[in-house]
């Protein structure tokens, strides 16, 4: 493999990692910090993407579409919080699983009914739409570089928010003992609502910026949700730093795994056998990574301090 190829794979891996981070960050906030399992988080990613496409169609301006989509995604999240989720905070995790699964079913279907089953596509904003020449044969998209930079910025901000501000502390406190936070004079419900909306908005944001690279289609968030769970578990639930590192790790392992495992197998296996086993192994790579990490560090790479059970 040439060095440019390797460089491209690295960039791709990081870019995938960044997207995963944006989704996983919201998940780790809502689940790891607040203690609420929200399977509908992946749907929020999808909604972000659809809304962006929709508003783009109306305004013809990517920036405006992004902004409107974020606001709309936030509004939807707050509505869901109000109508469904807030009644489930002090329930069993499994109740949350069932209810949010219901939300997934509904929204996936609703999106299909509204926008149809065909994948939709959209272009990035004009000034970032171009490509730059990487090798004689290959151009690389500026938008992807932009995604990487956006992701790193958001990661920094989030880390500060969760670990350095009182809001972060209160949310973490509320996750273990909401009653006590209330008894000490803090409106934990409202706080949860804000965090929830924020997390959902992050997922929507990920959907918005992913829309120009991937296609927008019903159910696009389901698989990513599982990967996002893999990320937060590897990173250590509730840790923003861990999530960020794990997201990059998963992004890289997935990307590099796909491009190298089959080749490596071909070194000592029949090509046909390698073609048989390689892709299967590449699909398993992130799961193997997760199983290995959890085997040696059951709490993940960066367990949030003092977290029990």
């Amino acid at each position: 493999m040439s060095s440019t190829l390797l460089l491209i794979q690295l960039l791709n891996g990081i870019q995938l990692g960044v997207l995963l981070f944006l989704i996983a960050a919201g998940l780790t906030l809502v689940f790891g910090v607040m203690g609420f399992i929200n399977l509908a988080h992946g749907v929020q990613y999808m909604i972000g993407a659809y809304l962006t496409v929709w508003f783009y169609g109306m305004t013809g301006h990517f920036g405006a579409a992004l902004l409107l989509a974020l606001l709309a995604a936030l509004a939807l999240a707050l509505f869901l919080e109000f109508a469904v989720f807030r009644h489930l905070y002090d329930r069993d995790h499994l109740d949350q699983v069932l209810a949010t699964f219901g939300v997934i079913l509904f929204l996936n279907q609703a999106v299909k009914v509204i926008w149809g089953p065909t994948p939709l596509v959209i272009s990035p904003p004009e000034f970032l739409a171009g490509t730059f020449r990487l090798t004689e044969n290959l151009n690389y998209s500026i938008w992807r570089i932009a995604i990487i930079m956006i992701g790193f910025t958001v990661a920094g901000l989030l880390w500060f928010l969760v670990t350095k501000t009182r809001i972060g502390m209160l949310v973490r406190a509320g996750a273990t003992n909401a009653g006590m936070v209330g008894a000490l004079g803090v409106n934990i419900r409202r706080l949860f609502m804000i965090v929830f909306g924020f997390g959902a908005m992050l997922a929507g944001f990920a959907g918005s910026i992913a829309a120009p690279i991937y296609s927008v289609e019903p159910g696009m968030g389901d698989g990513l949700l599982i990967t996002a769970f893999v990320v937060i578990v590897i990173g250590g639930i509730g840790s923003i730093r861990g999530t960020f590192i794990a997201a990059l790790l998963v992004g890289l392992v997935d990307t590099l795994g796909r491009s190298t495992i089959t080749d490596i197998l071909k070194l000592f296996l029949e090509p046909s056998a390698a073609n048989q086993i390689g892709p299967a192994l590449a699909s398993m790579a992130i799961y193997i990574l997760m199983a290995a990490v959890l085997f040696f560090r059951p709490e993940g790479l960066f367990p949030a301090q003092g977290r029990r059970a």
């Binding site: 493999m1 040439s2 440019t4 190829l5 491209i8 794979q9 791709n12 870019q15 995938l16 996936n108 299909k112 149809g116 089953p117 065909t118 994948p119 939709l120 596509v121 490509t131 020449r133 090798t135 044969n137 290959l138 151009n139 690389y140 998209s141 992807r144 690279i213 991937y214 296609s215 289609e217 019903p218 159910g219 698989g223 990307t255 796909r258 491009s259 089959t262 073609n275 390689g278 892709p279 299967a280 590449a282 699909s283």
Partner: protein, 365 residues
């Protein structure tokens, strides 16, 4: 018995639902044109969604044959769904007509007298592409397909007629999102042509990313099920000029196709693709058979009439092989933009005349 019951099982849910929608619309158009009657009999049409889940498909199939007691089941779009419904439908004695899926599994040893395919044997499109690659003297081809059974068949099918050098063959996961890694390898390999099979949303994403990479201008693009009427509304300009190969295109030069395409667009507002065409033909096939057999009372008569395939196919030339898979012509296609801004595939040239599949010998029918 004076009404005919036809059940259809296609995928309507999720992104692959676009394919099922075409099949549904194609069949219903035919039915409507014939005044709601097939073979002169008042026809009850029952539509089911397999949701691309084997157990759902099977349950729907059983509901059709056991509860509704339909005479014909038309389905499915995907091979794995066909595998799931095959046995219950066949066992019930109803006729199973596949408007799209044509797996090798049921073409050879496991063929059945009551099973008919109006599309093609799955490998054929790929074999056609292999022939094209050889004809055009591409020396080095890069191959890309998703890692599932149809993807593996695609690779094998292409290689059957292509004897040049293979730069590399890559399997991506099903539903793959980001092809940039693969595209980087394609760029690195410096091949003459790309052979690709990426159905549905994967194709949409790939074409877009491939176009952005600048590679589209540097190498030939030979595809199956990657740029077609279900994906073009999303791919738009990015796909223009890209090649595919199959048994039909909406601008095939014959009367019935011109009429069909116009009527279809008029009614549903989009351009029909192969899925719609094959479903339309399936309806016509049933119509011809029921007419000829004078009802569905005599199964053997109906079967013989089906085998005769006495109807005007949109493809023109059409007949069944001994295994009930079609013998038909195949074409090289290219994506074009129409004056009204819509996109469709267009016939470039005929590659095969009366092409039959390679499994028929093993079928004892």
């Amino acid at each position: 018995k004076d009404t005919l019951k036809v059940g259809m099982i296609v995928t309507l849910s999720g992104p692959p639902g676009a394919l099922g929608n075409q099949a549904r619309d194609g069949f219903q158009l035919a039915l409507e044109e014939m005044g709601g009657k097939l073979g002169g009999m008042e026809t009850e049409f029952i539509l089911e969604d397999d949701e691309l889940k084997a157990d759902v498909a099977q349950s729907k199939a059983r509901s059709l044959v056991e509860r509704e007691e339909v005479d014909f089941v038309v389905g499915t779009i995907f091979s794995n769904m066909l595998a799931a419904i095959y046995k219950p439908v066949i066992q019930s004695g109803a006729f199973l007509i596949s408007p799209n899926a044509g797996p090798s599994t049921f073409a050879g040893k496991n063929c059945h007298e009551n099973f008919f395919v109006t599309s093609y044997q799955n490998n054929q499109n790929f074999e056609v592409l292999g022939k094209i690659a050889t004809d055009k003297e591409y020396r080095k081809v890069f191959m890309l397909a998703p890692n599932y059974q149809a993807g593996k068949d695609a690779m094998a099918g292409f290689k059957q007629n292509y004897k040049g050098e293979i730069a590399d063959e890559i399997f991506t996961p099903l539903g793959h999102k980001d092809f940039s890694a693969e595209i980087a390898r394609i760029a690195d390999a410096e091949a003459d042509a790309l052979f690709i099979f990426m159905p549905g949303g994967m194709g949409v994403r790939f074409v877009k990313q491939f176009r952005a990479s600048g590679l589209a201008d540097k190498m030939a693009f030979l595809s199956a099920f990657t740029v077609d009427e279900t994906t073009l509304p999303a791919q738009k300009d990015d796909a223009v000029g890209m090649n595919g190969a199959t048994n039909w295109a909406p601008d095939l030069d014959n009367e019935q196709t011109a009429a069909f395409t116009a009527a279809f667009e008029e009614k549903y507002g989009y351009i029909p693709g192969g899925y719609a065409m094959q479903a339309y033909d399936s309806a016509k096939l049933i119509d011809s058979a029921v007419t000829k057999a004078g009802g569905v009372g005599d199964k053997d008569a109906v079967r013989a009439a089906l085998e005769a395939a006495d109807f005007t196919s949109l493809r023109g030339d059409f007949s069944f092989n001994n295994n009930h898979y079609p013998v038909q012509d195949f074409y090289l296609l290219e994506v074009v933009k129409r004056d009204d801004g819509k996109y469709h595939t267009s016939i470039v040239e005929k590659v095969f005349d009366d092409y039959a599949d390679s499994y028929a010998d093993a079928c004892k029918l």
